[in-house]
């Protein structure tokens, strides 16, 4: 049986892992390679690096972080943040990344996703969707530029379109829930999971282990992404998996 994945996400800028609270007050959470090794030992199923600098200098630093990490840990690595060209993808894959996640560039040019999938395969083409609920309605709008810019695009339709364009996985972040620690947006995640046949990673809002359980069971996510609950040692990944296993979720221990 395929196990459900737990994916720690490392926000990286200037070669350091940071964690913001509601996009403000960035706190230093450590060296990315050391943290990656720690999560590897704890039994993380994959790792995601998110480059939150997205400047050209930052990109070189990120390539270096990926290269050093790939020399030491042997598990799937995803890199996102500022991936805009085929060359950006190639550099990350050559450094040792297995997947890239594309967000703003997909909205600006959906054919970029098709091109990426044709060139490098759907398995490495993750589309990241940042969505926010339309007030008073049961639908969600896609935002770009780190959640700052509304696009008018419906999130469910967008996920289906990205699947049709060759995306192999959706990384879905609720802008409403991100940073709240109140749990994933279950209705948003369930709506996307039911609308596509590719795996969906739930992201944004996890504050405790029950939230991860709900992400898998109520929302039907294939994987749950979390950052601060692991970075600040509230829980280890092993503890999260023991908890899930005890509640009947198939996880890898």
């Amino acid at each position: 049986m395929l196990t459900r994945r737990i994916i720690p996400c490392l926000d990286v800028t200037g070669g350091r892992v940071v964690k913001g609270v509601q996009f403000l007050e960035l706190r230093d959470a450590g060296d990315p390679v050391e943290i990656a090794e720690l999560y590897d030992q704890q039994g993380a199923d994959e790792l995601t690096f998110l480059d939150i600098t997205a400047s050209s200098d930052g990109r070189d630093t990120m390539v270096d972080v990926v290269r050093k990490t790939a020399e030491r840990v042997f598990m799937p690595l995803t890199v996102g943040g500022g991936i805009r060209t085929v060359e950006d993808i190639r550099r990350m894959l050559n450094a040792g990344a297995d997947k890239v996640s594309i967000n703003t560039a997909a909205v600006q040019n959906p054919d970029f996703v098709r091109e990426a999938a044709e060139r490098f395969g759907s398995q490495c083409t993750v589309v990241a969707i940042d969505a926010r609920r339309v007030p008073g309605e049961a639908r969600w709008e896609v935002y770009t530029h780190g959640g700052r810019k509304p696009t008018g695009i419906d999130a469910v339709e967008w996920a289906q379109k990205m699947e049709a364009f060759g995306s192999g996985e959706i990384l879905l972040t609720s802008m409403d829930c991100d940073g709240t620690k109140d749990g994933y947006d279950i209705s948003l995640t369930r709506a996307i999971v039911d609308a596509v046949s590719i795996p969906v990673i739930a992201s944004g809002g996890v504050g405790n282990l029950e939230h991860i359980y709900d992400g898998f069971t109520k929302a039907g996510a294939s994987a749950c992404l979390a950052a601060s609950i692991f970075h600040f040692r509230e829980y280890t990944i092993g503890e999260a998996k023991e908890y899930l296993k005890a509640k009947g979720v198939a996880v890898r221990l």
């Binding site: 395929l2 196990t3 040792g96 759907s122």
Partner: protein, 206 residues
Amino acid sequence: MIAIIDYGMGNLRSVQKGFEKVGFDAVVTADPKVVLEAEKVVLPGVGAFRDCMRNLEQGGFVEPLLKVIADGRPFLGICLGLQLLFTESEEFGLHRGLGVIPGRVVRFPEGMAENSEKLAVPHMGWNQISFRNRAPIFAGIDEGANVYFVHSYYVKPEDESVVATTTNYGIDFCSAVWKDNIVATQFHPEKSQQIGLKILKNFGEM
């Protein structure tokens, strides 16, 4: 020396670093002559079957690969490197493979479900292997060990005796083959943490 064939498909660095981690030198090469001279050969690969096969042909790798295999030198195929050994694949129309193992590469069926939850395709993540035929490359690996998969197509060998492991995802499918000097896995040893590194080490020792 282990030669890892670079034909422009996927992350080869992890395979190389994996071998180095367990004490074996491995070179990533785009030169068919290096492949011909290697003691052991690894064919990795991700992406589409058709593109992989075309790149192998254009890179001049088909003859050297067939020779290495016919000579009895240890060969390891990973992911697409497993699928390419087969007669043909249904991915994006019907395409011929290397034809080393008779059989076809087919897509997971539509509408698979488990516990009333539909099963996503690609099959992506950690799943268990069950041994049919314990190849030396799996020495020291436990029944039910978790390894990392990412694929939408799987292999159906005509001769079931080549099936080394099976994995369940809606259906039981062949997740590794073993035939003489050939071993090939649908999963990614280079991404399967300690279990994967043990498999690479076993290959290095073949």
